[in-house]
């Protein structure tokens, strides 16, 4: 698929303004739904039929999620929260969507709010996206002025307010119940589930949390039909256009749009995409779905479709579609140490196995990386990891934190051994200058 859907307007002059959005057929989906007599149920059915799965990381079917909102909410309002807390290392697609085409996101928010009968929606945007928040606020003002938001939108009787809510620096707020807690003015510590947010979410009310890209997809499902959407991709369970975030040691990192299921090697080497490895170096390892996804070896990226099932088959995950490429000069111990630093810093501190386990992993990895490791440390990394996850904690953060550790130790064990025995890196700067490591 070379046609761009989600990124069609990125790079267009004046892409942020409502005038340019309207010129390009913007808010037509909203007009269709609100003035052609679509019911909320019809819209939900379309999204279900499209096969759209959440683009934030978990890949849950969006339309199905929407149906979990009770028909009778006993007078309670329903909330839609747009998750714009994009913080997974390697991920930067939502930033692009919001900064370059804010109205596409807002139209998606309005449509989805209509589907779940929400009257007040919030866009929870990470604090660092100061520019994105400003752009969204400006776009919201324009949308209000044109009557796409506020009371009685397009004379349909449907009313909606949307508020941009800035986070303040905490990765865990991207977890949907952490986000809910944060929006309520608390520390962003995830909640025990059940109850799930669709029943008891923000302010004790039914709540749906959807990712920015997911909401943008809804616009196109309305405009072009569920069947069109479902046909894009490898199969109906892995459908639609998809944004891939490519970073690391490739020639042309960036956000690329392709049909769901793009081959990993095409993304890395294709002329339309990454255009190969920097300096012609070889691939050593690739993280396919952000820091939380198990890394893959160069052999594993052969025949590796980048979709939910393709990566699950490789015991990793699509996650937020953040593909981070490491070349042959990368010390895998150092990479694992860096990833463990992130998780140690971002653990919310609520559950003991995670609060204690993440800094412990970082400590052991630092020990090995700096030439003070012991052979038994390698087994220790696995032992600590296995005590942290698989239902030992409230949310999946701990599962995420151990994925890079278990996959790097599991797939590059010899390199860890080398590091312990020689007290320096096998490759990279720390190999030619061991004092860098032992200092």
């Amino acid at each position: 698929m070379s046609e761009k859907v989600l990124l069609a307007r990125v790079g267009r002059r004046d892409s942020r303004s409502i005038e340019s959005y309207l010129e390009d057929g913007g808010y037509e989906a909203l007009r269709t739904v609100l003035t052609d007599g679509w019911t909320a149920e019809k819209l939900t059915d379309e999204v279900k039929k499209s096969g759209l799965r959440g683009r934030g990381g978990a890949g849950f079917p969006t339309g199905v999620k929407w149906t979990f909102v009770p028909k009778d909410t006993k007078g309670k309002p329903v909330y839609l929260l747009c998750n714009a807390d994009e913080s997974e290392p390697g991920t930067f697609k939502d930033r692009l969507l919001m900064e370059e085409d804010p109205h596409q996101v807002i139209e998606g928010v309005i449509l989805s709010s209509y589907a779940i009968k929400c009257r007040n929606a919030y866009i929870y945007i990470r604090g660092e996206f100061y520019l994105g928040a400003r752009i969204l606020n400006r776009a919201l003002e324009e949308a209000y002025a044109k009557g796409f938001l506020g009371q009685n939108i397009l004379g349909s009787g449907f009313s909606l307010d949307v508020t941009v809510h800035r986070g303040a620096g905490a990765y865990i707020c991207g977890e949907e119940t952490g986000l809910i807690e944060s929006l309520e003015g608390k520390r962003g510590q995830p909640r025990i589930k059940p109850p799930f947010p669709a029943l008891v979410g923000v302010f004790g009310c039914p709540t749906i949390v959807n990712n920015v890209e997911t909401l943008a997809c809804v616009v196109h499902i309305v405009n072009r039909g569920a069947e069109w959407f479902a046909k894009i991709g490898r199969n109906e369970k892995n459908s639609g256009p998809k944004l891939y975030c490519l970073s690391g040691q490739v020639n042309r990192p960036g956000v690329y749009e392709a049909a769901m299921g793009l081959q990993m090697k095409e993304l890395l080497f294709g002329t339309e995409y990454g255009q190969g490895m920097k300096g012609g170096r070889k691939v050593k390892a690739v993280i396919p779905g952000g820091a939380s996804a198990a890394m893959l070896t160069a052999e594993e990226i052969e025949d590796c479709p980048l979709d939910f099932d393709g990566l699950a088959a490789k015991k990793s995950m699509l996650g937020s579609a953040a593909i981070i490429v490491m070349n042959e000069d990368t010390c895998i111990v150092e990479a694992a140490q860096n990833l463990s630093k992130f998780f140690a810093h971002e653990s919310c501190g609520q559950c003991t196995p995670c609060r204690e386990g993440t800094p412990w992993l970082h400590k052991v990895l630092t020990r090995i990386e700096t030439g003070r490791g012991r052979l038994e440390d390698i087994d220790l990394l696995e032992k600590i990891s296995n005590q942290m996850a698989n239902g030992m904690t409230i949310c999946v953060f701990a599962d995420a934190a151990i994925a890079p550790v278990l996959s790097s130790v599991g797939k590059f064990r010899e390199e860890f051994r080398y590091h312990v025995e020689r007290k320096h890196c096998l490759v990279g700067r720390g190999a030619s200058r061991p004092e860098l490591v032992t200092a």
Binding site: E88, A335, H345
Partner: protein, 172 residues
């Protein structure tokens, strides 16, 4: 790894929001069903007003939102972007998460602290710069990525960094 995060500091000054900030807070409150939900946005107003959030400012926010000071304290120490101590005019934030790390972010950060003669988390004596290390800021395709206050500067390299520091030393 982050700015001092465990305790609030006294400014020695009473914290009272100027009228313009007060009206912003009133407007914020209309967007939420509870006063508590306005906490993060109101703390942003406080930080924009004073540059950092003192114990006195936190107590004033607690009073306005009818929350306990302990709750506000707990929230403030959880999120990394609220400055719990005064910071330099230019808050230099270096991302060292994986993609930036692969692009040599730590070496760049070290070059910066060396040149300014400060450690991480410290402010230069002239009050112009504070250098901090941050986790992924979603600039991975333009690694190494960094922010100065609210603005991204990416991709960063030694030459650009030197030029930026020259300019900011003179004109800020």
């Amino acid at each position: 790894m982050s700015r001092v995060r465990y305790s609030l500091a006294e400014s020695g000054q009473p914290a009272e929001f100027p009228p313009e900030a007060r009206s912003r807070i009133e407007k914020i409150l209309t967007r939420y069903p509870t006063r508590q939900a306005a906490l993060l946005p109101v703390l942003w107003v406080a930080q924009e007003t004073w540059g950092w959030i003192s114990k006195e400012a936190a107590e004033e926010v607690a009073r306005i939102l009818e929350l306990s000071p302990a709750h506000v304290d707990g929230v403030l120490t959880f999120y990394t972007m609220y400055n719990l101590r005064p910071v330099g005019k230019n808050l230099l934030q270096f991302c060292t998460s994986i993609s930036c790390h692969l692009a040599g972010a730590e070496r760049l950060m070290e070059r910066c602290t060396k040149r300014l003669g400060v450690d991480l988390e410290q402010t230069t004596p002239d009050g112009k710069f504070t250098v901090v290390e941050v986790e992924c800021i979603a600039g991975c395709d333009r690694a190494p990525s960094m922010m100065i206050n609210d603005t991204y500067h990416e991709p960063m390299d030694e030459k650009k960094l030197d030029a930026l520091l020259d300019e900011l030393s003179e004109h800020s």
